[in-house]
């Protein structure tokens, strides 16, 4: 049994974000992190590994420096890592990305008892689309927004969150789940894990590796194969600051109430 976890290295948007004058992101100036929801997916895989002895494979599409992130995830307990990397894959939107990742998962080999896990969404694009689109490309059933996963043989019982409650969904392997932060608390790297992470299997799949998969076609991958294009990107204007009030006492509050009343806001 294998658990394949799709992960993404993302710019840390919670810190300083630099934008170029042309409205594109200055990625070089930003720190990169493992996408937070993906860490919950890795943790879920490691928990299932403890219960079942499954092999945990982490797979990411990105530039060569993403190796660092994959080594780190092996230091947390993943058994092997695959980086999908190639010029031909650049500029892919979610549709094209899912084609490529699905082909990589085919190459890793998806068997009857296997599970694919993804984070719900990445903090750079916030699309939440790649997980479901991989499931479609692989013909797998999907359950998104997983907040609890219980495995009993080939059946998974998943608590799937809704805005106003939840659903309990039963699904059989092979299947794909997308994970949210309520699912678990990701563990840290262990000291022995850090020692071992450079001796664990690490592979790079490039275009040559994947090109025989029917999903890999010049018309469905990369910038040219992406159904969506960016028409414009821009930064929103910052709303100008209003007035900073004098003091923070009773008079200040009375003045504020007066201003709100004058504007008919209260």
């Amino acid at each position: 049994m294998k658990i394949i976890v799709c992960v993404k290295q993302v710019p840390d948007t919670s810190g300083k974000v630099a934008v170029n004058p042309d409205g594109t992101l200055n990625r070089a100036s930003m720190a990169t992190i493992t996408n937070p929801d993906d860490l919950n997916a890795v943790e879920a895989a490691l928990t299932l590994k403890e219960q079942t002895g499954a092999e945990v494979v982490v797979v990411s599409m990105g530039p060569p420096p993403a190796e660092g992130m994959l080594r780190e995830l092996m230091a947390r307990g993943a058994d092997r890592a695959v980086l999908v990397s190639g010029r031909e894959f650049g500029g892919s939107d979610t549709y094209a990305t899912s084609q490529i990742l699905a082909a990589a998962i085919n190459k890793i080999g998806l068997e009857d008892e296997d599970i694919v896990l993804c984070g719900r969404q990445a903090i750079d694009g916030d699309t939440a689309q790649v997980g479901p689109q991989i499931a479609e490309k692989l013909g797998l059933p999907q359950v998104s927004y997983a907040a609890e996963i219980v495995k009993d043989g080939k059946t998974l019982t998943v608590k799937r969150m809704l805005e106003d409650g939840y659903m309990t969904v039963k699904v059989s392997t092979p299947c794909l789940l997308t994970c949210i932060k309520e699912l678990n608390e990701p563990r840290y790297m262990s000291v022995s894990g850090i020692f071992e992470c450079y001796s664990k299997p690490y592979e790079v799949y490039d275009y040559e590796t994947l090109k025989d998969d029917p999903l890999i076609d010049a018309t469905t991958i990369g910038l040219k194969g992406s159904p969506t294009n960016i028409f414009k990107s821009f930064t929103p204007p910052q709303k100008g600051a209003g007035m900073m009030m004098e003091g923070a006492d009773k008079a200040t509050c009375e003045q504020l109430a007066g201003l709100l009343a004058a504007k008919h806001l209260i």
Binding site: A128, Q142, F234, K239, K250
Partner: protein, 370 residues
């Protein structure tokens, strides 16, 4: 699927479609928002607007959609569609899309819409833009939008060619630091999930509702098509806070940490005096001090109240993304350098535990004096 070709874009003249989500036989309010927005797009395209409604015995919900602007509603009913499942809903929607070929398809960016949209787009081989906050067809209108909502230089806006007829789907990225407008030029339908609470609902028009056409399209669905089984649907026990529709939102941030109970109580009292509800920053929700339905921001809800009070919220861009369109923003924070003051109409540098009780009294007095 064999004859369907999403790249034959000239064949897609079936109008603008809105997936109208219902849960347990109750229409989600975002469906009305999307119908209203879809009306605008259909008018710009000179085409018709249709809802597509799936469920078990849901036809009774269809006509009301007409009142917000739908010319017709495709109603697909089956006991197998009672609860949302990815497999059944994707199958039926793709079946019907193949037959009627809509040009545009909008889906609410709910936890269900964001499961359904990507699966349908992948099966239909078309583009999908996630969590949109603004939509245009006409370029002159899009330019107007850019002039008011972007920092692009005027010549960069003027240079946009006016003949583009693609759906222009604008959404925040990188936690709201950037906005991107996406198009899907080579495939149809152009698909978008749209953030709930952002598009404005039209006035309900009874005559339009009465005139709304109900269409029962053909589709096939059997239990074999479904690989997942929903064994229960549980609604949250407590009533969820209606942040999106609230006129006043009083939100708390990490600033309440030194006495969480008192901080929340003060926010509730202030919200009550102002006639509003309590919201929270992500930090407060992540700390487990309040439930997630209170969260305002990029990963929470987008609110447009008349008054937004930010108590002890530093104002990360992800939070601002969810509240900066409020009519009047009041911020109380101990730190004069907190970014929240950059978007506040009225800022008070002070301790919320001291300021809020005085604020409550002052507002009570001002209301009594009216």
């Amino acid at each position: 699927m064999s004859n369907f070709n999403s790249a034959a874009i000239e064949e897609f003249n079936g109008g603008v479609w809105v997936f109208c989500e219902q849960r347990q036989g109750e229409m989600m309010s975002t469906s009305y928002e999307l119908i209203s927005e879809g009306r605008k797009l259909a008018d710009e395209l000179g085409s018709k607007l249709y809802g597509i409604l799936l469920g078990d015995k849901v036809e009774g919900l269809a006509r009301e959609l007409g009142g917000y602007g739908a010319d017709g509603v495709y109603v697909c009913e089956s006991p197998l569609l009672k609860n949302y499942t990815t497999d059944a809903y994707t199958k039926v929607i793709c079946d019907v899309v193949e037959q009627y070929k809509p040009e545009v398809m909008l889906i609410g960016a709910t936890n269900i819409g964001r499961d359904l949209g990507p699966r349908c787009a992948a099966r239909l081989h078309t583009g999908l833009c996630a969590d949109c906050t603004h939509l245009d067809i006409d370029v002159p209108k899009y330019k107007e939008f850019l002039r008011s909502s972007s920092t692009l230089a005027p010549n960069m806006i003027d240079n946009i060619k006016e003949d583009d007829r693609n759906l222009k789907m604008t959404r925040p990225a990188f936690g709201g630091h950037l906005m991107a407008t996406i198009i899907c030029p080579r495939f149809r339908p152009a698909m978008a999930t749209v953030r709930p609470g952002v598009m404005k609902k039209n006035e309900f028009d009874k005559a339009r509702a009465d005139a709304c056409e109900i269409i029962k399209p053909l589709f096939t669905l059997s239990a074999d098509d479904m690989k997942t089984e929903v064994t229960e649907v549980v609604k949250a026990a407590k009533k969820l806070v209606d942040l999106i529709g609230a006129e006043v939102v009083v939100s708390v941030g990490r600033g309440i940490s030194k006495d969480v109970q008192t901080g929340l109580k003060l926010a509730e009292e202030l919200a009550e005096v102002l006639g509003g509800v309590v919201g929270a920053s992500r930090a407060v929700v992540d700390s487990g001090w309040i439930s997630a339905d209170h969260q305002v921001g990029q990963t929470g809800k987008t609110v447009h109240p008349r008054i937004y009070v930010a108590l002890g919220i530093s104002g990360a861009i992800q939070h601002k993304a969810g509240m900066q369109d409020a009519e009047c923003i009041i911020a109380v924070n101990k730190n004069a350098a907190a970014p929240i003051f950059e978007c506040a109409d009225y800022g008070i540098e002070g301790d919320l535990f001291k300021v809020v009780p005085m604020m409550i009294e002052a507002i009570k007095a001002a209301k009594a004096a009216k």
